[in-house]
């Protein structure tokens, strides 16, 4: 079975076509259909062409490494090279409308790539399921392209009519191979195709994640051996020290039989005996049910991600049409408690950050500035577009003097690509973050909260809302802290709908 391969090509146009042919042959092996292969081929060719045309010194001969990896239900292509990063200082990125205004035959002829790059990224991200740019500082850069095989997705199928009165909840177990399709079907029955984490619709991907322990899953099974409930701990990224509690669902036909309580109790027991530092949950805010459960199990709210999920999120069996993108509250429980930590907290948010840490049992103390601040040579960051929910994440790994300009550039690029929200994660243990946060707020980023062990031991969450008005009165917050956090975020959001 094909797993992975690596191809090294030179930065010449002649290398592109054979490479695309090779990637297509692997696409066919892993079950991509014609359309998916066309999309991946286009993205690959477009990206390499622009890179070869604009990102290398003229006449230089450089290597471009392309890694093609089979993932559950799809393919990931990673392109790595030492090309020149796009020039963030030029600030020439334009919106599509501005581009229309300025474009001419003369401008096309003398383009040096920055304008084309914005348009190119815009098109590519629409073709793929995931598109990620990794700036590795002095070690170059990588682009990751992910596409999933749609025919591996669970399809609506007729099930034999269920006579609930003849069936009831029997047990909780680790899913067997036969249960996996039942999990996908259960999500489809409840959410259609609108569930935020689309892995649930791909039985192959679910099975792989369960096999490699990145998903610790439990299912509720009925007497007639049907999957009637599910819950999981999910690793948000490779080597994460935290896990997400979620994918919680029970068949509405079996409600009232204590299935969810039983599932939660089992998964929390599993969490407490794991090696994770903490567990977090994304609770939706169009109702308070999940938030109440989190409180019951000792979670405390740490962040409000405004508009995290699309407004198309629907609940087939709950009459709850969303009129705006769905915001989520991140709640966290520390499994390895730290009683006290020293952080560089931006003065403006110091009190709120302290409150949020206090909620999870940690006393946050303002760290004194050093006499001589260490600053990285080059900023390192990863940016990812999650096409399924039209958001982007920027993980700022190290801060150098070019950090602000890089983020400005990415923000503009994502805005043009009509990404709804950008979430930015900054290290609260990096002294340089204090200055940077202030400057980022000047360009429209607002406070979101904290997120322990999310790419940093102590991450500060900022968010950029791309011209969307939110009605904060529709964000239901259950705990007093969540309410305070919502109000706090609201005061900073200049785009909100004023209900007063």
């Amino acid at each position: 079975m094909y797993k992975t391969s690596k191809v090294i090509i030179k930065n010449s146009f002649d290398s592109i076509e054979p490479l695309v042919g090779y990637v297509n042959s692997i696409g066919s092996l892993v079950g991509l259909n014609k359309k998916e292969m066309q999309r991946l081929s286009y993205a690959l060719e477009e990206s390499l062409q622009n890179s070869i045309s604009f990102d290398f010194e003229s006449g230089s001969e450089e290597d471009i490494e392309v890694e093609i990896t089979r993932i559950a239900s799809g393919l990931r292509v990673t392109i790595s090279d030492n090309g020149i990063p796009k020039n963030p200082f030029k600030q020439s990125v334009q919106s599509i409308d501005e581009m229309v205004k300025d474009v001419s035959f003369e401008s096309v002829a003398k383009s040096d790539g920055d304008e084309i790059s914005a348009l190119s990224d815009f098109v590519i991200h629409k073709l793929l399921d995931k598109y990620r740019y990794i700036n590795k500082g002095k070690d170059g850069r990588s682009i990751e392209m992910t596409i999933y095989a749609s025919d591996k997705k669970i399809q609506e199928e007729l099930e034999p009519e269920l006579r609930v009165e003849e069936d009831k909840f029997e047990l909780i177990r680790i899913p067997t191979k036969e249960d996996i399709t039942g999990i996908s079907r259960l999500f489809y029955k409840s959410y259609g195709y609108s569930y935020v984490n689309d892995v649930v619709y791909y039985p192959d991907r679910l099975a792989t994640k369960i096999e490699n322990n990145s998903l610790i899953s439990k299912v509720a099974i009925s007497e007639q051996n049907r999957v009637i409930g599910h819950i999981a701990l999910m690793q948000p990224f490779e080597d994460a020290k935290i896990s997400e509690w979620g994918m919680a669902i029970s068949d509405p036909l079996f409600r009232g039989q204590g299935i969810m309580s039983e599932l939660i109790s089992k998964i929390m027991h599993k969490a407490k005996t794991s090696t994770y530092h903490g567990i977090f949950s994304h609770s939706v805010t169009n109702h308070e049910f999940t938030q109440k459960i989190c409180v019951k199990y000792g979670f405390s709210d740490v962040a409000l991600l405004v508009g995290y999920a699309g407004s198309e999120l629907s609940f087939k069996n709950i009459n709850n049409d969303l009129t705006q993108r769905e915001s989520t509250i991140i709640s966290y429980i520390a499994l390895k408690k730290e009683s006290q930590i020293e952080l560089f907290m931006p003065k403006k948010h110091e009190q709120m950050i302290k409150k949020l840490y206090n909620g999870i049992g940690t006393k946050a103390i303002q760290k004194s500035p050093s006499k001589k601040v260490n600053i990285a040579l080059k900023t390192e960051l990863t940016d990812t577009i999650i096409s399924a929910i039209n958001i982007a994440e920027i993980i700022l790994k190290s801060i150098a003097s070019d950090a602000l300009e890089l983020i400005k550039y990415l923000t503009k690029k994502f805005s043009i690509a009509k990404i709804d929200i950008i979430y930015l994660y900054i290290d609260l243990e990096d002294e340089n973050s204090i200055d940077l946060v202030e400057k980022l707020e000047e360009i429209g980023y607002i406070f979101g909260g904290i997120f322990p062990h999310y790419h940093h031991e102590n991450a500060l969450v900022l968010q950029f809302i791309n011209n969307i008005e939110f009605d904060y009165s529709l964000i239901h917050s259950y705990t007093p802290l969540a309410k305070e956090l919502r109000d706090y975020v609201q005061t900073q959001d200049n785009n909100q709908i004023d209900k007063g």
Binding site: R39, I96, S107, V108, E115, K126
Partner: protein, 108 residues
Amino acid sequence: MQVKSFKEEGTLIVAPSGKLDTFNAPKFGNELAKLLEEKPESCLLDLSEVTFLSSSGLQVLLAGAKTSKKDSIKYGVFGMQEMVNDVFFLSGFNNFINSFETKQEALS
């Protein structure tokens, strides 16, 4: 890449073939610019033989639309292959350039 151009029912038809990629798009841009300098009444791009439309190619199509608008030339594209059509619509360029499935439809 080759570019053919001819008149049909008083309309200038410009038909590039092959890839409108970063390498070829500027050359096609030059040719299209020269053809539009003659200020035809209308100009249609036959994209049926275009196998790849890069973002540079998209910009050339747009530059053609801008020049045409300035000179009151009726301008549009037709006959796009499936992937080219996808890219054209995904980029939102259908909001700025008229597109048709067939030549007959475009000429009418």
